[in-house]
């Protein structure tokens, strides 16, 4: 039975993705002038883990890139080279290439782009600055004379010496075949040496090949039961790691390490260590005791002396493992090595063959092995505990839950309504039960909603990189400040917030922050600052993008508006002017760059935000900077609203849109040119939106305008007064889409179900204002 590597792919993808993210974070954190050795080490470790994993799973393109990356990083952490901004840039680019490669592999493709070669050669160029003797090679040169040239050509694949032990009499030869024939077949894979005598009962062969263990097993599978076969990495020629065929099912260990002959130890090369996943740990122990009990049966092939291993230690270690969290083990393992300053023991479970070439190796140093096993177990336990505390659930399931809870809340409201007609005295129990039900279902609703909530840092975390890249491209100096990253909001909103925010931040750098000279001339620090701030305010989340740049230029905007023929009021307020930038095709940038200036951005930003029931505001002060405020509901599924009655129909008005409501007097209503209607509220003339007229409601109880209520709402075209018959109550309503079974209705953003089971439509004030204008 061979190991099916594909089932571990996802683990590798997840892990490599995390490592890449860590690497990027650390790189951005890195201060080039005073590099922190810890950070450099951490970056190196991340790169190395990716390399290890990529090599293990056969993603050699990724392993190659990480290898050159690692080489340069190694020079840095050994302080042979001083990090430069150029290096960090190159590292980041390499990270991008790796991400692209990873994404391609995830889709089952291979990423081929000239970028790969570019980045690699750049990294190589940079690392050439270091003393050449210190440069390590990814795969140690294999000095074995037997290695066929073909294997050296395969630069991305390590040739491994495998030791194959089997009983000659277990082989079920076809007529005419013999051991020599078998050897010939194997020779197709690589170079075969016979270590045992030709007529020995127990045959020991050494196969140096680039092919994996699977290929060997397959070859043998033709002639014998793979269980009779023991395949291990030839310990005499490698810093070993072992795989026994019997153990491979249980996830003991996967991979053999680097090849090399005995002489290879004298050379510098990467030491490869091997740790099994969590289940393997127990097996190491079991194996350990088993080998101790069976005297002379098997023994540990040990590490070849502590000294040489410590030397190799500097070159780092490779870590391969299928189980998640291997990096933790790696970290522990590294610590162990340093602390113990001893050789590291690896198990070499040999078969009954007592005189393996490995016997020349020094006996194992058992204690560190055990401690490693013990630590490994701790880590495994910790990991298990961690994985117990969180589960991955598909968003659909959560949404279904949210829907069901919404139904429960509605059902409760319906029950409460039917019970309201009862006499409280005679039905105490019913009323008690109902109030309990209400409390519980509200709590349940809140709990379920919180499942979908994620901290906004999921979006914010990408911006250090965006700011750095954009600023570098424009030759500006910008720092980014993040505030309130823990603010939680709905997952769906988080995903949809990323693009608009990205746009706003890039805009701020491009148009807001000035060049360093200009900033100096204006008496500001040369380094501009962009601040991303998130906070909860009332029932909504407020996200702010603030820069301390030049601010919006009122004259320039007005001139541009004039040339584009955008209508503006006589004496436009600042707010009116700022709103101009949301017009489609409006850009005051002198030249179009690949960052901004095409004028398609801001209107898309606003549309995206509005699609999330959010609003966007601009505040700007010439010379002081610009602040863009995005206000979003906490979730897309629930809305705080006011129910209003118009005729026989009930509507829901989103609370976020309401500014005030007043009882109008007759003289507050007026008309312009006999048809356009206005309402004067606090000395201001507002367009009057009469729901009855906009929606052409033919209600029977036509009441006079002044008996109704004027609700002043904030629309994206300014304030407007909405005339309704009556304000009914404030609700938290579950938003249902009309479009699922019907279509979009203008002026309506959705529907909800009221306590009596009827449907009420949710008003979209922006669209209402538009509709109203058209109706006039």
């Amino acid at each position: 039975m061979t190991i099916d590597m594909t089932r571990f792919y996802q683990v590798f993808f997840d892990e490599a993705g995390e490592h890449l993210a860590t690497m990027e974070d650390l790189l951005l954190e890195l201060d080039v002038n005073t590099p922190n050795l810890e950070t450099l080490n951490a970056i190196f470790r991340a790169a190395h883990s990716i390399k290890g994993g990529a090599g293990t799973f056969g993603f050699h393109d990724m392993a190659e890139v990480t290898h050159v990356l690692e080489t340069l990083l190694d020079c840095l952490r050994k302080q042979e080279l001083q990090p430069t901004v150029e290096m960090v840039d190159t590292f980041l680019r390499a990270g991008d290439v790796l991400k692209a490669q990873l994404a391609a592999h995830q889709d089952g493709r291979e990423y081929t782009d000239t970028r790969i070669a570019e980045v690699c050669s750049q990294l190589e160029q940079l690392s050439k600055l270091a003393p050449s003797s210190e440069r390590g090679d990814f795969y140690p040169s294999t000095p074995s004379l037997h290695t066929p040239p073909a294997h050296q050509d395969a630069a991305t694949t390590a040739a491994v010496s495998w030791k194959i032990v089997f009983r000659a009499d277990a082989i079920d030869f076809q007529p005419g075949a013999d051991l020599a024939a078998l050897r010939d077949v194997l020779a197709e894979l690589g170079n075969v040496d016979w270590l045992s005598a030709d007529d020995a009962e127990l045959c020991t062969w050494r196969l140096t090949t680039t092919a994996g263990q699977e290929a060997i097993v397959e070859t043998f599978a033709f002639v014998c039961d793979p269980a009779c076969l023991t395949i291990s990495v030839d310990s005499a020629t490698t810093t070993q790691a072992t795989v026994t065929e019997k153990n491979s099912d249980s996830g003991f260990g996967f991979f053999a390490g680097a090849p090399g002959s005995a002489q290879a130890f004298d050379e510098e090369h990467d030491g490869f260590g091997l740790f099994g996943g969590a289940p393997g740990v127990a097996q190491i122990e079991a194996l350990h005791s088993a080998t101790e009990d069976a005297d002379g049966f098997g023994f540990f092939a040990g590490a070849p002396g502590s000294e040489s291993l410590l030397d190799q230690e500097h070159r780092g270690f490779g870590l391969f493992g299928g189980a998640p969290g291997m990096t933790q083990i790696a970290a522990v393992a590294e610590q162990n090595r340093v602390e113990n300053a001893q050789g590291y023991g690896f198990f070499e479970p040999l078969s009954t063959e007592p005189l393996a070439p490995a016997s020349t190796a020094a006996p194992v140093v058992a204690p560190p092995t055990q401690s490693a096993a013990a630590t490994g177990r701790d880590v495994a336990a910790k990991r298990a505990a961690h994985s117990d505390t969180s589960i991955r659930v598909s968003v659909e399931k959560v949404d279904q839950l949210i829907n069901l809870v919404g139904e429960l809340v509605i059902t409760h409201a319906m029950l409460a309504e039917s019970a309201s007609g009862l006499d409280p005295l005679g039905h105490e129990q019913i009323f008690d039960g109902l109030s309990n039900l209400e409390r519980n279902s509200r709590d349940l609703q809140q709990a379920v909603m919180s499942i979908r909530m994620l901290p906004i840092s999921f979006v914010f975390n990408r911006f250090p990189r965006v700011v750095r890249d954009t600023a570098a491209k424009l030759g500006k100096q910008v720092t980014l400040k993040l505030v309130g990253e823990d603010t939680e909001l709905d997952k769906g909103l988080i995903e949809r917030l990323a693009d608009p925010l990205n746009h706003l931040v890039r805009n701020s750098i491009d148009h807001g922050i000035e060049q360093p000279e200009q900033r100096r001339a204006a008496g500001k620090s040369e380094v501009g600052e962009i601040c991303l701030r998130a906070s909860h305010r009332g029932g909504s989340v407020v996200v702010e993008v603030r820069d301390d740049g030049a601010g919006l230029n009122r004259e320039k905007l007005l001139a541009k508006a004039a040339t584009q023929g955008i209508p503006l009021p006589e004496n436009p307020t600042d707010k009116d002017v700022w709103q101009l930038i949301f017009h489609a095709g409006f850009s005051t940038a002198e030249k179009i760059t690949d960052i901004s200036g095409r004028g398609v951005g801001m209107d898309v930003v606003r549309r995206n935000i509005e699609a999330m029931n959010g609003r966007i505001d601009i505040d700007s002060q010439a010379g002081q900077g610009t602040r863009i405020t995005i206000r979003l509901p906490l979730t897309l599924a629930i809305l705080d609203g006011l129910s209003v009655r118009m005729g026989d129909e009930m509507f829901i008005l989103p609370l976020t849109a309401i500014q005030e409501s007043i009882q109008p007097r007759r003289d507050q209503f007026m008309t312009v040119a006999g048809k356009g209607r206005l309402a004067r509220v606090n000395g201001e003339y507002l367009p009057l939106v009469v729901l009855r007229e906009v929606f052409a409601l033919n209600d029977t109880t036509h009441q006079r305008d002044e008996d109704g209520i004027l609700v002043v709402v904030d629309t994206n075209e300014g304030r407007a007064a909405l005339l309704v018959d009556e304000l009914v109550a404030q609700h938290q309503v579950v938003i249902k889409s009309l479009e699922t079974n019907y279509r979009k209705v203008e002026g309506i953003s959705g529907a909800t179900i009221m306590g009596d089971g009827r449907v009420a439509l949710i008003l979209d004030v922006d669209a209402l204002a538009r509709l109203n204008r058209r109706a006039e």
Binding site: A696, K736, Y742, R743, V745, G747, R758, V759
Partner: protein, 167 residues
């Protein structure tokens, strides 16, 4: 949608399909019973602004917002008072749930393809494009309607054009 229609033509004519028949005024109509989700009484609807007259509004069907159409208004059969016998057939067509108001549900009938005769041209009153054919049941004429085609048609305005293309 298209495939299904082709299937119908290709399918051996012996295979009988079941149809639900309902009345609208004096006429009797039949629709494919597999498109019917449930039958319920008429409830108060919430009107939708600026919708075509035959769209009565939307109702809450166990948490799902379902639009309700009045087939009599759609087929110009005149306005009939809603009474306790007024029935709503909830249809499941083109991945949507839609309710149609009818005067009453009469029967479930099994028909072979051969029993459905092509309908002659009706003139302009009703578009024959949505009519599969006619059949006779106890000397009564039943009009077989391709309900899915009717509901998803542009003139119903139920489905936005963009979405129609996807469907």
């Amino acid at each position: 949608m298209k495939d299904e229609r082709q299937d119908r033509i290709v399918a051996p004519s012996e295979a009988a399909k079941e149809y639900l028949t309902f009345t609208l005024g004096d006429e009797e109509y039949g629709i494919d019973i597999l498109k019917v989700q449930e039958i319920r009484g008429y409830d108060a609807v919430t009107r939708i602004a600026n919708a075509p007259i035959f769209i009565k509004g939307v109702i809450n069907m166990r948490g799902v917002i379902v639009p309700i159409l009045d087939m009599r208004l759609k087929f110009n059969l005149g306005v009939v008072e809603y009474n306790e016998f007024t029935v709503v057939i909830i249809l499941n067509v083109a991945e949507r749930v839609v309710g149609i108001v009818v005067d009453g549900v009469s029967d479930v009938i099994a028909l072979k393809r051969a029993q459905i005769r092509p309908a002659p041209e009706f003139g302009a009153l009703m578009d024959t494009a949505y009519i599969d054919g006619l059949t006779t049941l106890d000397e009564r004429m039943v009009i077989m309607v391709d309900i899915e085609k009717l509901i998803t048609s542009n003139e119903m305005g139920l489905i936005e054009n963009t979405r129609l293309e996807v469907v």
